[in-house]
């Protein structure tokens, strides 16, 4: 095995050790923690890009942590779903850039290093979760990113954030327990924790009942993390009341871990001889369809901008699960691309909204009337990202939704195509409403008139993400081709 594979362990080690160092290193100089966090996330991004280059050259590869061959040691495995770590590291980097001016305004100065430590540990946990090939390791890194995510929500001011964090913590802890229980069941039947090894040995298990329950517990556990309807109840509170960069991180990146968890579950169980995944996938389709419509309708009636965006995440998670549930090559690759594209779009949305709310001090949509004139760039970025999240061609949101809709038609489910289109139209309705409010209505609130454009560090992150949420739509074909080999194990079942 050549040297580059060390990167698989380094994408976990670098951000976590970086995060653990921050409170000790920057106790005296809290604001300097920003530069250190930025540097370690840039290093992580560079390592993950080198991993992708190797993936493109050689195909999927593994790394035996500690040099122990699987199944005795923990095997890390890099495939085309794992490649999402590069996008997630990039988003974390941009969120950190945005945080430079934002966080000192909302977090007491002595706690700024804690914020950066939590963001870095969260990144390390996400990376570990995505690159591991071991069930217990998956659980451990799920806890790493979950615990840091609960705390990041609680860092916002006000009692609402604390309550939202507790709600998130309780539901998250139950879902973690379900996942741990399922891992116990699988281990008791196979004697191994390695995912590939367990997948091969589950067939030989004496009884199918524990296997079926393990599948169910994993699915429900990851459904909570992914906030799929009806287990999304924690999301609107947590994502609306967290500080803006944290909302961006949670909505863009952390919920996707739940989705990847479901993908890993389907992959592990897809070889099973007598266990049928079809009923589960049908369930995912219907929950996804309800999520699309429920999220869109709930977003329509919100008056709080961030809460509206949180419900938009419920909608988009619904789209992804429709695609995964259909499981045909077209739909599943659409879902995989939408995981990435939605991450970019949602980060753009939450950061742009965060800038508007931060600069004006107002968070109700009607109060923001006319702010487009005062903060043209941030408002423009929000507008572009809103069109992208609605799936207007040729933006990034279009690619995945179109593929998912096509997949529905191909497999003879025209009703689902209807859901995809109606969902998109509903999202477009509130998107246009916000754009209209920002640009074409006279200011109502005095603070709008005195607001100034966001500082350059915030603008840089917002504009880059907004431009990407437009441009990634043009790169739809290469992205679909990139994920195509990875979704094959899923399509076998559908």
């Amino acid at each position: 095995m050549s040297a580059a594979a060390h990167g698989l362990a380094l994408v976990v080690l670098v951000p976590i050790v970086g995060g653990a160092l921050i409170p000790a290193l920057f106790r005296r100089f809290p604001t300097a923690a920003w530069g250190f966090a930025l540097a370690s996330s840039a290093l992580t991004l560079a390592i993950s890009i080198s991993l992708i280059r190797r993936l493109l050259a050689e195909g999927p590869f593994s790394y035996a942590a500690g040099g122990w061959p699987p199944p005795y040691g923990v095997a890390l495995h890099f495939d085309r779903f794992g490649a999402a770590i590069a996008v997630f590291s990039m988003i974390t980097l941009l969120v950190l850039i945005f945080s430079r001016r934002y966080i000192p305004a909302v977090v007491p100065i002595a706690r700024i290093p804690l914020y950066y430590a939590l963001v870095m540990i969260n990144l390390g946990g996400m990376n570990g979760f995505l690159v591991t090939g071991d069930l217990f390791n998956l659980f451990v890194f799920m806890e790493v990113f979950s615990v840091s995510a609960y705390a990041l929500v609680a860092m916002a001011r006000g009692p609402q954030a604390g309550l939202a964090a507790i709600k998130y913590l309780l539901l998250g802890a139950v879902s973690s327990l379900l996942v741990l229980f399922a891992i116990g069941l699988i281990f008791a039947q196979t004697g191994t924790l390695n995912m590939a090894d367990a997948a091969g040995r589950l067939d030989a298990a004496a009884s199918i009942v524990p296997t079926a329950l393990a599948l169910g517990a994993l699915t429900i556990g990851f459904m909570v993390k992914a906030a799929l309807f009806p287990l999304h109840v924690w999301l609107p509170d947590a994502h609306a009341s967290a500080p803006a960069p944290v909302s961006a991180l949670l909505s863009a990146v952390v919920v996707k871990a739940g989705v990847i968890g479901i993908i890993r579950t389907l992959q592990t169980f897809s070889d099973h001889g007598s266990l049928q995944l079809m009923p589960l996938q049908s369930l995912l389709i219907w929950l996804g369809a309800i999520a699309v419509l429920w999220g869109a309708v709930a977003a329509l009636v919100q008056s709080d901008l961030k809460r509206l965006l949180a419900y938009s995440t419920v909608t988009n998670i619904g789209y992804i699960f429709i695609g995964l549930g259909i499981g045909s090559a077209t739909a599943a690759s659409g879902a995989a691309v939408h995981i990435i594209n939605h991450a970019v779009i949602k980060a753009a949305l939450f950061l742009a909204a965060g800038a508007l709310i931060h600069q004006s001090g107002l968070r109700h949509i009607d109060d923001l009337r006319g702010l487009g004139e005062r903060m043209p760039l941030s408002a423009l970025a929000l507008g572009v990202a809103l069109l992208a999240v609605a799936g207007v061609p040729p933006t990034a949101g279009f690619v995945g939704k179109w593929q998912i809709g096509l997949g529905a038609l191909e497999t003879g489910r025209p009703l689902l195509m209807g859901v995809v289109i109606v969902g998109g139209l509903l999202v477009l309705t509130y998107g246009v409403r916000i754009i209209n409010t920002l640009f074409f209505r006279p200011p109502l609130h005095v603070r709008v008139v005195t607001s100034r454009e966001a500082p350059p560090s915030m603008l840089a992150a917002i504009l880059l993400l907004a431009a990407s949420s437009f441009l990634l739509g043009l790169a739809g074909k290469p992205m679909l081709d990139f994920v195509a080999p990875a979704i094959l194990p899923l399509t076998d079942t559908g």
Binding site: P23, R27, G67, Y72, V74, A151, M155, Q189, V209
Partner: protein
Amino acid sequence: MRKFLALVLIAALGAVLIAAVVNLPEPGTTDSPVHTHVSAGYIKGGHEAGGADNLVTAVLLNYRAIDTFGEVTVIFTALIAVLAATSLAGPTERSGTQNIDLKTTRVPVSPVVSFVVRLMAPFIATFALFVMLKGHELPGGGFQGGVVLGAMLILLALFSGRTDKTDDEELPPGLRNWIRAAGPLVFGALGLTGLVFSGWLFSLPDHPFWREMVMIGLELGIGIGGAAVLVGLFRALREG
């Protein structure tokens, strides 16, 4: 009605869980997969290859070191989470008023209890250190030793009579932050030294002496870091 519904739900969930558990391979039978597959490999090779008489320690620190790295990170993150989330009103303003309440409402510490705690403290600390240092040979290890040490420090903090002061730092704050991060940091160091000496991240040295030294270092990092986290959690509860 709600209580009844909750009861029905719990009963249904319990029935499903029990149905799954009774269908698992019978515990204690030698031919169940738990005993024949990976564990059998650990038992066969764990002593020499794993480098520890205590096979649990061999699995924790050697075979699955990256898992343990994640676990100590969770423990450290829990402390950071509590410090980040405790009342944003700020500890200094509030603890002033709280301490006045404490002084007036506090039950005086019994001299007997206080004396016994002080008497026992050095022995508890020695035992904690022993559990950490001998974790690779005997039952025990860093996690257990850390909890014993942390509990001893919390006991001392309760009885040492210094709780009235707002700045009763046991350690300089700069050093304290390093010690709290000891768990993740020693594993970070292990990751890198493993790469340098044996070519794999998170691997222990091949030479038995150095392997033992690295294991003791890891146990101490886990234990002392864990104890510092426990004390930190205790202090955060008092201040917040």
